[in-house]
């Protein structure tokens, strides 16, 4: 009996890989449609802050994630952009991660069309910049000192979307969606120093780390992981990849729990045999 149980510990890990693959694959192919029961306070705060902005207000969107964190962060970005377009906000997109550029293109290839938004009038995409901290500081005095052209080299100063925008004082909100520590920099170098409201979006694993900023209101709201994306989508009433991905997330999380419980129960039995 003891030896049989011990065999479970030495089980070929490829069996676990197979079970996980099935658990992830099935709900992606055939969504179960499990309801997203609760909306977290931080995601609701993020939504409320964007929702309270007046039409025409300028939102600086910093999208700093690459394909590795795309499943969690891309749906967040899409949901925020949809919300901003619905509210007729102006959007300026910046990035400090080279791998983000293609993902930004993919979003703006489709989403603006759904709301009849025009490039240069309603939104603009700025080029990738290295050294985020230096750029953030530079934007505080003169935005055009660092971003005088958009990503294809056209001058931005006279674009309707940039009307009345010179520095952070003219911006209503900064939203940073990232899988890196750039959100900390937005809080420290911009939010705190220039009194600009900052809302964040991050991966589920880094979500607990932003608790101190949320408590002190240095962050006005936070969208955390795929669940946060699903919550924001449900608040915007635009179900997307976050909502459809939540089924796979559900089953994968429960599989982890089941495995941890199983291994510990086996350990307990072995000890008492």
């Amino acid at each position: 009996m003891k030896e049989t149980l011990q065999k479970f510990f030495k089980m070929d890990r490829r069996w676990i890989f197979l079970v996980l693959a099935v658990v992830l694959f099935v709900p992606i192919m055939r969504p179960l449609g499990l309801p997203n029961k609760t909306i977290s306070r931080d995601a609701r705060n993020a939504f409320d802050y964007v929702d309270a902005l007046k039409p025409g207000a300028f939102l600086l969107l910093s999208l700093d994630y690459d394909p590795s964190t795309r499943p969690e962060l891309h749906p967040q970005a899409v949901a925020v952009i949809r919300h901003a377009f619905k509210k007729n906000l102006r959007i300026g997109v910046v990035t400090y991660i080279a791998g983000s550029t293609g993902l930004i293109e993919q979003i703006f290839e489709t989403v603006p069309k759904d709301y009849g938004k025009v490039y240069g009038t309603d939104y603009v995409i700025f080029p990738y910049m290295a050294n985020a901290a230096a750029v953030m500081t530079q934007m505080s005095s003169d935005f055009y000192g660092i971003y005088d052209k958009e990503r294809n080299g056209k001058p931005v100063r006279d674009m309707p979307v940039m009307q009345g925008i010179k520095n952070y004082r003219d911006m209503a909100l900064v939203v940073n969606i990232t899988g890196t520590s750039i959100l900390d920099w937005w809080v420290a170098f911009v939010g705190d120093k220039y009194n600009v409201p900052v809302v964040g979006g991050c991966t589920a694993i880094s979500q607990p780390g932003y608790g101190p900023y949320l408590q002190t209101k240095q962050l006005k709201g936070l969208i955390g992981g795929m669940k946060g994306a699903a919550e924001y989508e449900s608040l915007v009433k635009e179900p997307g990849k976050g909502t459809s991905g939540i089924d796979a997330l559900n089953l994968a999380h429960l599989l982890v729990l089941a495995l941890i419980l199983t291994s510990n129960i086996i350990l307990l039995i072995i000890k008492h045999l």
Binding site: I16, L24, P67, G102, P208, G211, H253, L254, V256
Partner: protein, 222 residues
Amino acid sequence: MKFIKKQIPLAIVMVTGLLMVASYYIPHKYSVDYVELMNKWENIVSAFAFLLGLVSLFYSHYGKIKRKADGWGYSLFVYIGFLAMVVPAMMTDGRQMVDGQVTSLGWSFRYIYNALSSTMFAVLAFYIVSTAYRSFRIKSRQAFVLFVAAFVLILGKVPLGQMIWDSLLGWTGQGVADIIEWIMQVPAVAGKRGIMIGIAIGAIVTSLKIIFGIEKQYMGKD
């Protein structure tokens, strides 16, 4: 010679560092101009650092290929990957879309970089699940506390877990969302805040040591 090699660099670091610190607290045009100038220089230096990193990477992998070191074949893919992204980028002037059409750079990004990067990260999920089964053993009180916190968080973070909690423990009148809220707001924040304060103090001390020339390792051995 020592004056040029040591004293002058140390003086530059000290003056530049002290001016940067002071400019944070002095809202004057001169200090703003100074910070802007430094930021531009920093960007230029960063660009050269990228180049230096690239040369170093190529040199190291060239050495592996030349020596036929273990796994030298993988080093070839460093060059292949580089060319697959840089050649289209140069051909398209760095544009991924032109007139609504995906360029060769856009194609490389979507079907090479995107796929490879996603795969690398996705593989982690399999290792995490396997490790959770093999290594998460409750052998002490501390491990038990960690397990309970992890159990509640994992369960409460997904709707299906919330439904299971409600059906099994709903009679307690305590929702899993409330418990998670408490864990995140009290013990998690307390721990994180301690870490943040520690890191900040460490960063200040290190910066002061560099500014005042106590820490000189960045200057090399000569």
